[in-house]
């Protein structure tokens, strides 16, 4: 009797812990959405309403109607998409060389990119500010785009290099035997096979660029040239303690990334992990 009880407990505790942990990790995200949809009366309640029954779009309306919201959405989308696309193009060339060719200095280049991706951009903003100011490009999206591009470039190169290396060389070779040039073989054979890798790689680039905060904070004082992270971080101050609207704003900011992540996460992570643990 006693034996079965203890083995039941032994089987139970991992599941019980998992449920507690699920709540701990998911709750802040749930609370953001829950607050965003709750009527104000439920938000400023002495006892929090954990499972709201009434939904309202009033907070979202307030967030969307905030000054410059759509300008900032446009800025964020432009900067993010352009910087990721640029870095993908540049990285594709570099990763092909690093994965498929053997040449003097190859190892040095790889190490350079590995070190470069650890660059402490957060601490370099003062120098970047001076450079951008001296080029008279403050309050412009151009410096943001190119700096974000370089920010995600090393990671993109190193990850794509893994994906290029994973495409069997025989495919490329047989295409070349069939009369393709190396460039044609790349475009016709490798590139289509790389598509999932490109998507997974770009996910992390999107997240980095979408979230970047310190650089835009110092470079673009003009609201017309800012991006959503700045808007969101000052939202609460601007709107007093309107938590409903603040959480609606946070939800709007988070949703594109959450959707991308949930769709691409499996692929991206397995790509990372395949590299990380294959000894």
């Amino acid at each position: 009797m006693k034996r079965t009880a203890s083995s039941a407990i032994r089987r139970l505790w991992p599941n019980a812990t998992a449920i507690v942990l699920f709540v701990v990790f998911a709750f802040p995200v749930y609370w953001m959405f829950a607050t965003a949809f709750k009527p104000t009366g439920d938000i400023i309640a002495e006892d929090p309403v954990f499972f709201p029954t009434d939904a309202t779009f009033e907070h979202f309306k307030k967030a969307v109607d905030a000054d410059h919201f759509w300008t900032l959405v446009g800025n964020s989308v432009t900067v993010t998409v352009l910087s990721v696309l640029l870095s993908l193009v540049i990285a594709l060339l570099a990763s092909f060389a690093l994965a498929r060719m053997r040449f003097r200095g190859r190892r040095g280049f790889i190490v350079t990119f590995m070190i470069a991706q650890m660059a402490p951009w957060e601490v370099m903003v003062i120098a970047i500010y001076m450079i951008v100011r001296d080029s008279e490009m403050l309050n412009s999206l151009v410096p943001l785009t190119i700096f974000y591009m370089v920010m995600v470039l090393p990671f993109t190169i190193l990850t794509l290099r893994g994906y290029v290396a994973a495409v069997p060389k025989e495919l490329e070779e047989s295409a070349m035997v069939d009369g393709c040039t190396r460039t044609q073989a790349f475009i016709k054979v490798i590139f289509p096979l790389l598509a999932p890798g490109l998507m997974a790689t770009s996910l992390f680039g999107f997240i980095t660029a979408w979230n970047e905060f310190p650089m835009v904070l110092i470079l673009n004082k003009d609201i017309e040239a800012q991006t959503l992270p700045l808007w969101l971080s000052s939202f609460q101050t601007t709107f007093g303690d309107d938590w409903g609207a603040t959480m609606a704003a946070a939800s709007l900011f988070a949703v594109p990334i959450l959707i991308l992540f949930v769709f691409l996460q499996r692929k991206a992570v397995s790509g990372l992990v395949a590299g990380a643990v294959k000894g």
């Binding site: 599941n15 998992a18 942990l21 701990v24 990790f25 802040p28 609370w31 953001m32 006892d47 929090p48 570099a94 060389a97 690093l98 498929r100 060719m101 053997r102 040449f103 190859r106 280049f109 790889i110 990119f113 650890m118 660059a119 402490p120 957060e122 370099m124 003062i126 001076m130 450079i131 001296d134 190119i146 591009m149 370089v150 470039l153 090393p154 990671f155 190193l158 990850t159 994973a166 069997p168 060389k169 992390f204 997240i207 979230n211 905060f213 310190p214 110092i218 971080s233 959480m247 704003a249 946070a250 900011f253 988070a254 990334i257 991308l260 992540f261 996460q265 992990v273 590299g275 990380a276």
Partner: protein, 332 residues
């Protein structure tokens, strides 16, 4: 989540390096053929855009930062575009003042606490994932992925709301649990409580990366190793110390350093949470450099602090960087 991604970045790179060791032999001939067809300059031409972009946009700010740190650059010089060199005055002022060293100590403790908590809890949760049945594992994974994907600025505002003095859910729970003095507690009124919230935010956001990747790593441990250990009479703990842990050690080692880098330079969480307050008591080095340099418009001083911050970061991770360099030599 800029931070989050960076974490992911670095780990991926740490890994990818190894993956290309796996398809050996076959390719060598193809490579040579390609080289002779394409000409020796091709790989360099392919790398040129990436190298040029990195050199200009990463290298130049670093050099510029070094130069600025030897200049007297306050609003007057800034507006009039004056370059006034002042030797090592900035460094003298920073290093002899007591503020800087206080911030250094604070940053080191902050980093240590966050990294230890992240690695410890992340490892435990990763091992738990390996023990769970399929359905529970997917459930917990979903929670972890949500926290992982949550953009940093959004997460910061959510934590401000969770810990809000009025109507914040955390104070309500603490009050209901019998800790009535917390009913109207102001979390952002003191150094320790502000740091607690920031730490919770960072650890919450960092654990998923460690846990999910660690779980993935445990799935690659060959079952025969456990069978062999069991035949030798190893219990659960012994098979952990003799099989699981040695297998995971390289992963844990590199992840710890990546977390050190990531947390030491964390800016957004600290700054967006409470702007380094109250009374500048929660400024870590990156925030301190920003507030001194940009906020107080002592750009030269700020640059000197930035430079010293980078040096400290290099010193903290020197051992890891060295193994990165060495591994590259061994494997390529």
């Amino acid at each position: 989540m800029s931070v989050q991604t960076e974490r992911a970045d670095t780990a991926a790179a740490a890994g990818i390096r190894k993956s290309d060791a796996s398809p050996p032999g076959v390719g060598r001939d193809g490579e040579n053929r390609g080289k002779s067809r394409g000409g020796a300059a091709v790989p360099y031409l392919l790398l040129l855009p990436a190298l040029a972009a990195t050199a200009v946009l990463l290298g130049w700010p670093l050099v510029k930062n070094g130069m600025l740190s030897f200049q007297n650059l306050n609003p007057r010089q800034l507006i009039l575009h004056l370059t006034e060199w002042n030797g090592i005055d900035n460094y003298k002022e920073v290093l002899t003042g007591s503020d800087f060293w206080k911030v250094v100590g604070r940053s080191l403790v902050f980093t240590a606490v966050n990294v230890v908590l992240t690695m410890l809890l992340g490892t435990l949760i990763g091992l738990l994932l390996a023990r769970l049945g399929k359905r529970m594992r997917l459930t917990l994974m979903l929670g972890l992925v949500l926290a992982w994907a949550m953009p940093v600025v959004a997460a910061t505002t959510v934590y401000q709301w969770l810990f809000a003095q009025r109507f914040g859910v955390v104070n309500w729970v603490l009050d209901k649990l019998g800790w009535h003095s917390m009913a109207d507690y102001n979390w952002f009124g003191s150094q320790l409580s502000t740091f607690s919230v920031v730490t919770l935010l960072i650890v919450w956001g960092s654990i998923p990366f460690v846990a999910i990747n660690l779980y993935a790593a445990t799935t690659t441990i060959p079952k025969e190793l456990y069978e062999a250990a069991a035949l030798d009479g190893a219990g659960a703990w012994q098979s952990f110390t003799s099989v699981t842990f040695p297998f995971l050690r390289p992963f844990l080692w590199s992840t710890t350093f990546l977390e050190v880098i990531w947390i030491f330079k964390a800016f957004t969480q600290v700054f967006a949470m409470n702007a380094g307050g109250p009374d500048r008591l929660t400024e870590t080095l990156p925030v301190y450099a920003f507030v001194e340099g940009v906020g107080n418009q002592h750009f030269g001083m700020g640059a000197a602090i930035s430079f010293l911050t980078i040096l400290i970061l290099l010193a903290l991770t020197a051992y890891y960087l060295r193994t990165v360099l060495k591994q590259e030599e061994d494997e390529l």
